[in-house]
């Protein structure tokens, strides 16, 4: 015990830590995915299953992740494999912890690219280089072409075709910025950045919100396309696909699954990030209130800002047809047209995409820290070496996604398998580990230490029964509905196959490192087998 070293890094302030966790959760999905999900799944009625999922699923899983992280941190560990080993008491859990490294590392490889698109669009608005021509009827088509050219969707290798493409320059800047901030460390890098980025993000979003809500009826010849009707298109309770009444939407299991899915992805559970962030907390730090506050902040950006901006803005200028298109379609095809229609649209277009960039970078930073922590504590290397090593791995992965840009096959394959399926798998592993192996009662007691407010007793029921059942149901549904199609795509498309090889390569590499780390911890008597009791402050002090 005596040679256990205290985690070298600590959060500088409670608020900074909450901002960092909230920044990790707030992303493009809050502004682009949530409004689309609500509109397609019953409008205002969608909020009933949405809030049920938040209370019974999202927040309990968050609290479980915070508890696991803080618990592992008391043993001087900060990475998923080590913390899983402490909680599960068997080496197999350490190896299952590989998901807590694989998921954020692989997602970072393509997420940093999407992040650079946001910054690239913001820059384009700032310098006025988005020009869709004078003919308004062609704007939608030209906007799609602009996006395709910008991200290189027309053929592979467009972004590395011998000339310096603007997208590559922006990507290089964003990639370097991420690693510069991560190199500065937890409190001087991530925390300090998120502490100012989150308020700036809120200010940008509120400025765009005020602009959208004061648009009135921009085209008098189309009186139906007003802000009030745009809000109604999003918030009026309505049946799904015009079948029955709005109450019938609540009878559809798919609506409840979609609501739970939105909450699940929005709160960033199953990323391995919260566990890592919480591991830097002291034993008496309050994780109940901090976890709830981070979740509430995420909901503010999603419901209060995302729910009032995107759909009404698209509806006012483009009607109901402009509100469809998925995350990328709505964000990068539709909204640029909306900003062209909007008075002072160039300014608000810049604010919007700069805000999306901040939302993305606060998330991407959190994706790097779990692997950095693992390399440091698993291999015993310093921050510079661990940052360089992770930088090399993610650079190769990101270049792979950039090169195979045609139809974004590489990006969507990585997102389908890791950004969707493996997140659910990791969350399932976490929930089972917490409630059935570690013990929900023990977790409840440990989470309550230092807590300013009491954890609701419902937490134990939610985390022991509701969350595992839901996650297993989602995994089963994915295997039933999507897996055959995804496997077929991998068999028929070379790029999809290469993408799977990238995932497999990173997985094997991380498993080897976990094996090395396990031997090292054992040799240093820092094995993950738990002591009889939690170490005291004196025992873990250097």
């Amino acid at each position: 015990m005596a040679n256990k070293s205290r985690p070298k890094e600590q959060w500088a302030s409670r608020l900074g830590m909450i901002m960092a966790v909230a920044g990790s959760a707030v992303g493009l999905g809050n502004f682009l995915r949530f409004p689309g999900q609500a509109t397609e799944n019953g409008g205002g009625a969608f909020m009933i299953p949405y809030f049920c999922a938040l209370i019974f699923l999202g927040i309990p899983i968050c609290w479980a992740e915070w508890t696991m992280g803080k618990y592992g941190g008391q043993f001087g560990f900060n990475s998923c494999p080590a913390i899983f080993g402490v909680l599960g008491r068997r080496p197999v859990w350490r190896y299952l912890g590989v998901l807590g490294l694989l998921v954020p590392v692989v997602i970072y490889m393509y997420y940093v690219l999407i992040e650079s698109w946001c910054l690239g669009y913001a820059w384009s608005y700032l310098v006025g280089s988005i020009d869709l021509g004078p003919d308004q009827s062609l704007w939608v088509g030209k906007s799609k072409e602009f996006f395709k050219d910008f991200v290189g969707m027309n053929f592979d290798g467009l972004m590395l075709d011998g000339k310096l493409h603007i997208s590559v320059i922006v990507w290089a800047i964003v990639f370097a910025l991420n690693f510069l901030l991560i190199y500065r460390g937890l409190s001087r890098g991530i925390e300090r950045f998120c502490t100012w980025a989150m308020p700036v993000m809120a200010i940008c979003a509120i400025a765009v919100l005020v602009r959208v809500l004061t648009l009135g009826t921009p085209d008098p010849s189309l009186p139906d396309q007003s802000v009030a009707n745009g809000l109604g298109f999003m918030w009026n309770p309505k049946p799904v696909k015009d079948e029955g009444t709005w109450l019938s939407a609540l009878a559809k299991p798919q609506v409840w699954m979609n609501a739970a899915g939105q909450i699940f992805f929005s709160l960033s559970v199953g990323f391995g990030v919260i566990i890592n962030y919480a591991s830097y907390l002291k034993r008496k730090d309050d994780i109940v209130l901090s976890g709830l506050t981070a979740s509430a902040t995420n909901e503010f950006f999603e419901v209060c800002l995302g729910g009032l901006i995107t759909i009404p803005a698209a509806f006012v200028f483009l009607g109901a047809a402009g509100t469809v298109g998925g995350t990328f379609g709505l964000g990068f095809n539709t909204l640029p047209v909306v900003f062209l229609h909007m008075p002072a649209g160039r300014l608000f277009g810049f604010l919007w995409f700069f805000m999306l960039f901040l939302a993305a970078i606060t998330s991407s930073l959190s994706m790097l820290q779990p692997a950095i922590a693992f390399l440091e504590e698993g291999l015993g290397i310093g921050r510079r070496a661990s940052v360089a090593m992770l930088g090399m791995i993610t650079l190769l992965g990101s270049l792979f996604v950039i090169y195979f840009s045609k139809d974004l096959v590489a990006l969507t394959t990585l997102d389908d398998w890791v950004g969707t399926a493996m997140i659910v798998l990791l969350a399932t592993v976490q929930v089972i580990l917490f409630s059935w192996v570690f013990g929900a009662n023990k977790g409840y007691r440990f989470a309550s230490e230092g807590a300013q407010m009491r954890l609701p007793p419902l937490f134990k029921v939610a985390i022991t029964y509701i969350a595992p059942l839901y996650l297993i149901a989602v995994l089963s549904l994915w295997c039933w509905n999507d897996l055959p199609e995804k496997l077929k795509q991998v068999r028929e498309n070379e790029v999809a196959l290469f993408s799977m090889c990238v995932i497999a390569g990173v997985l094997v590499f991380l498993l080897i490192l976990i094996n090395i780390a396990g031997k090292r911890w054992k040799a240093e008597e820092r094995d993950t087998s738990p002591p009889d009791r939690l170490p005291t402050e004196q025992e873990v002090s250097p």
């Binding site: 409670r14 409008g43 909020m47 809030f51 009707n229 509430a296 902040t297 023990k442 807590a451």
Partner: protein, 51 residues
């Protein structure tokens, strides 16, 4: 926008804003309460192999 649309929107916004006000009030205004309430936190015994 229908009356029920306004109702769903306002209830949703008020719920989220209320939750945020509650949480940030607790975090920013009453940080010292933790030490007072938990001056002697319970010792967690993890020696429960059988559970």
């Amino acid at each position: 926008m229908t009356a029920s649309g306004w109702l769903f929107m306002l209830i949703s916004l008020l719920f989220v804003l209320g939750l945020n006000v509650f949480c940030f009030y607790k975090v920013l205004v009453k940080p010292a309460a933790v030490e007072e309430l938990h001056a002697a936190p319970p010792l967690i015994d993890t020696k429960d192999e059988g559970t």
